[in-house]
């Protein structure tokens, strides 16, 4: 399938979802760099190394906690924010602009990792203008419903 998300494109996909992402890297289970945003190729290895260290420090800080190991990290700093999310296979870390909405950033990170793990592709809505070019059908209208209809039989 042409639209399948590959590790190489995952970081760029994240940036496509959120304009607040300044740079992102994807690491594989071994902690090796698997992908980076397009303009980060020169410093991607260094960023990947830092992303790996971030979760190492998180695991060190939480080893005595009686909870499951953290899956996502948010660090707010005066000049921006760092968000990272991991699955057993991948770690995706992003540096975001100041004021990026945490809940959206964390959701997008999780969505990209989910797609990478074989989950459903992230659907991006199209503008009304674009939709208007095609014939208006009930199927198209149903696709645009954000939530399933409740209260049915």
């Amino acid at each position: 399938m042409a639209d399948t998300l590959t590790p190489e494109r995952a970081a760029e996909r994240l940036r496509g979802l959120s304009a607040d992402v300044r740079g992102a890297v994807l690491l594989d289970a071994a902690g090796s760099l698997a992908g980076a945003t397009d303009d980060d190729h020169d410093n991607a290895p260094a960023l990947a190394d830092l992303a790996r260290r971030l979760f190492e420090e998180v695991d060190r800080a939480t080893r005595d906690w009686d909870t499951e190991p953290p899956e996502q990290v948010e660090v707010q700093l005066p000049g921006g924010a760092v968000f990272a999310s991991r699955t057993p296979r991948w770690t995706l870390a992003a540096v975001a602009k100041r004021g990026a909405l945490s809940s959206l950033m964390l959701y997008d990170l999780r969505a990209v990792l989910g797609e990478l793990e074989g989950g459903p592709a992230i659907r991006r809505s199209t503008s009304a203008e674009e939709r208007a070019r095609g014939p208006a059908t009930e199927e198209h209208a149903a696709e645009e419903l954000p939530m399933p209809e409740l209260g049915g039989q």
């Binding site: 740079g23 420090e57 060190r60 899956e71 990290v73 921006g80």
Partner: protein
């Protein structure tokens, strides 16, 4: 119970209070902090004096520096 405001001046004061509270909340949300989320999505704040807080902040700052350097 919150007293109901009457008159345009009181309403303006109420609006200003609301805006000030929003600004304070936004500032609070942007204070340096480390939040960790478990797989269920529950957040836990790492207290500034807690073990590891300073190191996590330092690594995150370095990440920010890396991206800023490129920009």
């Amino acid at each position: 119970m919150k007293e109901k405001r009457k008159g345009p001046l009181s309403r303006a004061a109420g609006l200003a209070e609301g805006m000030a509270a929003t600004v304070r909340r936004m500032q609070r949300e942007r204070e340096p902090r480390v939040l960790l989320y478990d797989p269920a999505g529950y957040a836990r704040l790492v207290q500034p004096e807690a073990r590891g807080h300073a190191r996590i902040m330092q690594v995150a700052e370095e990440m920010l520096g890396q991206v800023a350097e490129r920009e």
